[in-house]
């Protein structure tokens, strides 16, 4: 026994194992310090003669010090991890720029006209200052609501056929292909289709709110089909079998087990489809037209909508132009808020409807 270390062999083995598991790591504050320095440089650069773009770019380049530093201290695996993390955050910030810019522009320019009057008066007999977008809000809600009423049953039943009955046969494959084609229809073509359809019944020059709904439904249906289809496919087969084995017919199984289980996802999909079409301008310009007064009847005459109102206010502002242009921005802001509210509702719905107990 010549060993000088008095501790038993077992302890020394354990220590060796531990030190091989441990590695050199950067201190916990390293990322914060690097990002802090980079941000400071970016701000200073933006304020100096470099200008905003070059200043921010310089700051961004500085953040790459972190993976380089990590490479020296921690080795290649962690350095790659930090590099990819950095790239993902950069891409995320890049994607936020247009979003932030849109929200900022619309809010800063649209807020000035916001008032109770703006939201509750139409543009009937208004020249110059004053007036409101009540007629356009109602038009948008009615037309989009009717489009939803048309497209949700069609879309949901199509998805149910594809997933529950079609199981990959020719018909369901054909339907899926056509739905994919429909996804690519330009909105102006949907508007022309609705116009051509209504001309068949009512003659040239027809203008009707419901025509706009049909055009929007053409755009909505494929989105509803695809999202509902994905959600129905996520329902485990075991649940269908459990229900069938209890002697429940297939249609009741679908109505009471499959659809309720997928409901949260389906509702979210429908809301996103609504948000997608509520801002459509071109088809509504063709078939729903524009008007200054409130029209609650989808089946009679022109109907104003928010996107068309924003377009006409800014494109044909009249003299003097400021008031009309301000109202245009106000309409855009209202539309944005409606879409945000829709998304909020979708979140709430999917929270309250999703199966409990598995979170």
């Amino acid at each position: 026994m010549t060993t000088t270390d008095p501790r038993p062999q077992r302890d020394r083995d354990a220590e060796e194992l531990l030190s091989s598991l441990r590695g050199n790591t950067l201190p916990l504050w390293a990322p914060r310090v690097v990002v802090g320095i980079a941000a400071t440089v970016a701000v200073l650069g933006a304020l100096s003669s470099l200008g905003v773009v070059r200043g921010v770019l310089l700051g961004w380049l500085l953040t790459f010090a972190l993976p380089i530093w990590s490479r020296v201290v921690e080795g290649p695996r962690k350095a790659t991890d930090r590099l990819v993390t950095l790239l993902v955050y950069s891409a995320f910030s890049l994607a936020l720029i247009p979003l932030g810019s849109i929200i900022w522009t619309v809010f800063s320019r649209g807020l000035s006209v916001m008032s109770a009057e703006f939201l509750t008066y139409s543009m009937r007999n208004v020249v110059g200052e004053g007036g409101g977008i009540y007629h356009a809000i109602m038009g948008t809600l009615l037309i989009t609501g009717a489009a939803t009423v048309i497209s949700v049953p069609i879309g949901l039943f199509t998805a149910i056929y594809i997933v529950e009955y079609g199981d990959g046969n020719r018909v369901s494959k054909g339907i899926r292909f056509l739905v994919d084609v429909m996804t690519g229809i330009p909105s102006i073509v949907a508007g022309l289709f609705a116009y051509a359809l209504f001309v068949l019944f009512f003659g040239e020059g027809v203008r009707m709110g419901i025509g706009g709904s049909v055009a929007l439904a053409v755009l909505m249906i494929p989105v509803v089909v695809r999202s509902s289809e994905e959600m129905l496919k996520l329902v485990p087969n075991e649940l269908r079998e459990a229900s069938l084995a209890l002697g429940v017919p297939q249609w009741r199984t679908i109505a009471k087990v499959v659809v309720p289980t997928a409901l949260a996802g389906i509702v979210t999909g429908v809301t996103l489809a609504i948000a997608r079409v509520i801002g459509e301008t071109a088809p509504l310009l063709i078939i729903a037209g524009a008007t200054d007064s409130t029209n609650f009847n989808l089946f009679d005459g022109r109907m104003a909508t928010l996107p068309v109102f924003a377009y006409t206010s800014i494109r044909f502002p009249g003299v003097p132009p400021e008031f009309s242009i301000d109202r245009g921005w106000g309409a855009a802001l209202t539309l944005l808020v409606i879409v945000m509210l829709l998304n909020l509702v979708a979140r709430l719905v999917s929270f309250f409807f999703s199966p409990k107990g598995e979170r």
Binding site: E241, A242, A245, G247, T261, G357
Partner: protein, 259 residues
């Protein structure tokens, strides 16, 4: 009213793949029949063909005859929905409905078929079924909570309660105790003993002692080789199969000398 089952020359397919070949077996009424055999030999497949759940899988089909009290399950005029009401099933993996409470899960057979019941009546069914499945004490204070919030073994017993609450005349159980502790297992075995007074029970199990304990009849399934279809090797009174089987393979499997 219990029913006897007579199977003759049954071939079971998944698409072109022949999973189980040439089964001939008579399952007597008011008795417990155990299916034993190595994994993948087609016990679940055969069990599912007894209440027409097999054909739910796309491409799956059967050839041959399954008679329940003399009526052919696979005759053209037979409605699979009615067959499944008569022949209930507990699956190998627990599958409670995630959107329903524990209470509604037990009553799922009635609720999904929109059967109207008085509150007192449904309360009684829920309590009786949960007691029989040995789950009542654990869940009686949280009947309105979601069924998927239970542990795996509790979910399995919930599924057993759900299957017996509709009082099927035949009950098929696919490894009902594989996720259960010995105490819950013995509760389920007691339940099986009790149910066989009125019903016909078929149970798949990998536990030889359990097969010996609960069953009156035993059927041994085996694979004749890799990629070959599963076969019924022999069936008969449980005492005979366990003490003095006709086939060498059966004896080897039961004594654990298999493969």
């Amino acid at each position: 009213m219990a029913k006897s089952i007579d199977v003759s020359d049954l071939n079971i397919y998944y698409g072109d793949f022949l999973a189980v070949e040439g089964v001939n077996i008579a399952i007597p009424a008011r008795s417990v029949t155990a299916f034993i055999g190595p994994s993948g030999c087609g016990k679940s497949t055969f069990l599912r063909s007894l209440n027409r759940m097999h054909e739910v899988i796309p491409g799956a089909h059967v050839q041959g005859k399954v008679l329940i009290d003399g009526e052919d399950l696979y005759a053209d005029e037979m409605d699979p929905v009615n067959v499944r009401r008569m022949v209930g099933m507990v699956f190998q993996r627990p599958n409670p409905f995630p959107t329903m409470s524990i209470y509604d899960n037990v009553l799922a057979g009635q609720k999904l078929n929109s059967k109207r019941m008085k509150k007192s009546e449904s309360d009684a069914i829920v309590e009786r079924s949960l007691r029989s499945a040995g789950l009542w004490a654990e869940v009686k204070d949280r009947l309105s909570r979601p069924g998927s919030g239970l542990s795996g073994g509790q979910q399995q017993r919930l599924c057993i309660a759900r299957a017996i609450s509709v009082e099927p005349e035949v009950l098929l159980m696919d490894e009902p105790c594989s996720a259960l502790d010995p105490i819950s297992t013995s509760v389920i075995e007691d339940l099986i003993h009790e149910l066989k007074e009125k019903y016909t029970i078929v149970i798949v199990t990998h536990n030889m002692q359990q097969a010996a304990r609960v069953s009156d009849e035993t059927a041994f399934f085996n694979l004749s080789g890799v990629g070959k279809p599963g076969k019924l090797v022999e069936s008969g009174r449980t005492e005979k199969i366990f003490s003095n089987p006709d086939e060498e393979a059966t004896e080897a499997y039961i004594q654990g000398r298999f493969g």
